[in-house]
Amino acid sequence: MSELSVKHLLGIKYLNEKDIQLIFETADHFKEVINRSIKKVPSLRDITIANIFFENSTRTKLSFELAEKRLSADVINFSASQSSVKKGETLIDTVNNILSMKVDMVVMRHPNPGAGIFLSKHVNAAIVNAGDGAHEHPTQALLDSYSIREKLGDVAGKNIVIVGDILHSRVALSNIFALKLQGANVKVCGPKTLIPKYIESLGVEVETNLKKALNWCDVANMLRIQNERLDISYFPSTREYTQQYGVNKKLLNSLDKEIVIMHPGPINRGVEITSDVADSKQSIILNQVENGVAIRMAVLYLLASKIK
């Protein structure tokens, strides 16, 4: 019998390879469950989960909520925009008030890096990080790797390129940790201004030429330009970015092989990828969304089983 080595999912950085495999194997079972005619199991019927979102989210929030409901957990939702945070309440106060309503787990998205880690030290609940600023987004990285594993059979030894705004992307950082842990080769590709200076210390290579990067890879994970986090101008214009780093069908067809296209969403169609690429057979974007529910069910199930 195995179990997770952690009590909270704060980032991929805190997981080991065995944890990832356990999450994937558990997700395999939940993927079968969510394809039944009755898609619900009673495992978490005595667990209450609070989804606390201090930042906007569509996919992640819906995916977590669905995962929680499929596991029969009770769910409460909280968005900062409609809350006392606006009246000056601190993070710990907000969460402790929620916890005094007998909540067992907190799924939190927050604009500040490390918010989940901070919370885990001060409140008595299992914390799942659903994105903390430009730091980590562990469930996204898990579902990305799971989707690669599903499509290509294995992650180890595969060549993955992450394209776009690496500097502001929590998806990129969590993906790098997860992919390296599983033995994949990782390159990042984008304008130099959007690639962190010390990225190579994580064991990844930098490639600024998109075509070269695509010809090298098995999978390209296309990231969105995080306009809401761009405080200065990092590239001359969106149009120029698209010409240099956007993937279109013509570029894909000119490659030596057929690669897999991924995107964590939301897509800016016509910027980082064109519609014909996003909707092509090579794209597994919608599989990623489906796998997201199974992965989050697995994470919640495995963490909940450690709550005594």
Partner: protein, 188 residues
């Protein structure tokens, strides 16, 4: 698996030998035939992880020795339906469910190796509903441990009834998984 389950422990005795298991499986197959004839409206569902072996053997006997041409056979994992989630020290790990047919309006025969407290069967009765509404559910168990039930659940078909006390464990071993067919009663 510890050594004591490998046949080296002092406090164990053979409950059923390979030959006895084979005879019992044939009797159970005949009883199933008597009630279900051609198995057109009946499906066999082995409860994971250990009921799978009993279900596989019965399906094989029915097909190869009694000429049943087609049997729907599935495996049901009950982990997510168990009533002891978070009550033990360990995370409950699931095994594979594979039921690629509908159980709607079918007669379902749930199959397990040992019936003890009845809690697994309770979980299986809930789990199977996720695949439709069966017209009827029966229970087949190779070993029925009497006087140890926590729930009002009894088998329709039983291989052998055993009066094991709670400190004892019934260990069912299969050639395809453990190297030989044998059932031990082990003193813990």
């Amino acid at each position: 698996m510890s050594l004591k389950f490998r046949g080296l422990h002092m406090g164990q005795k053979v409950l059923l030998s390979s030959k006895e298991i084979n005879i019992i499986l044939h009797r159970l197959a005949c009883q199933l035939l008597e009630n279900h004839l051609d198995f057109k409206e009946t499906v066999l569902v082995g409860i994971q992880p250990r009921g799978k072996f009993v279900a596989d053997r019965l399906a094989k006997i029915l097909k190869e020795e009694y000429g049943v041409s087609q049997i729907d056979l599935g495996y049901l994992d009950i982990t997510f339906y168990r009533d002891d989630f978070r009550r033990g020290d360990k995370t409950l790990e699931a095994t594979k469910t594979s039921i690629d047919f509908l159980v709607e309006d079918k007669k379902v025969v749930l199959i397990d190796d040992v019936l003890y407290t009845g809690r697994s069967i309770r979980a299986a009765l809930t789990a199977i509903q996720s695949f439709g509404r069966p017209s009827e559910i029966e229970l087949l168990t190779l070993i029925d441990r009497r006087f140890s039930r926590h729930l009002p659940i009894q088998p329709n078909y039983r291989g052998r009834q055993v009066d094991a006390i709670n400190d004892e464990k019934v260990q069912v071993m299969w050639k395809e998984n453990d190297g030989k067919d044998v059932i031990y009663l082990i003193n813990k």
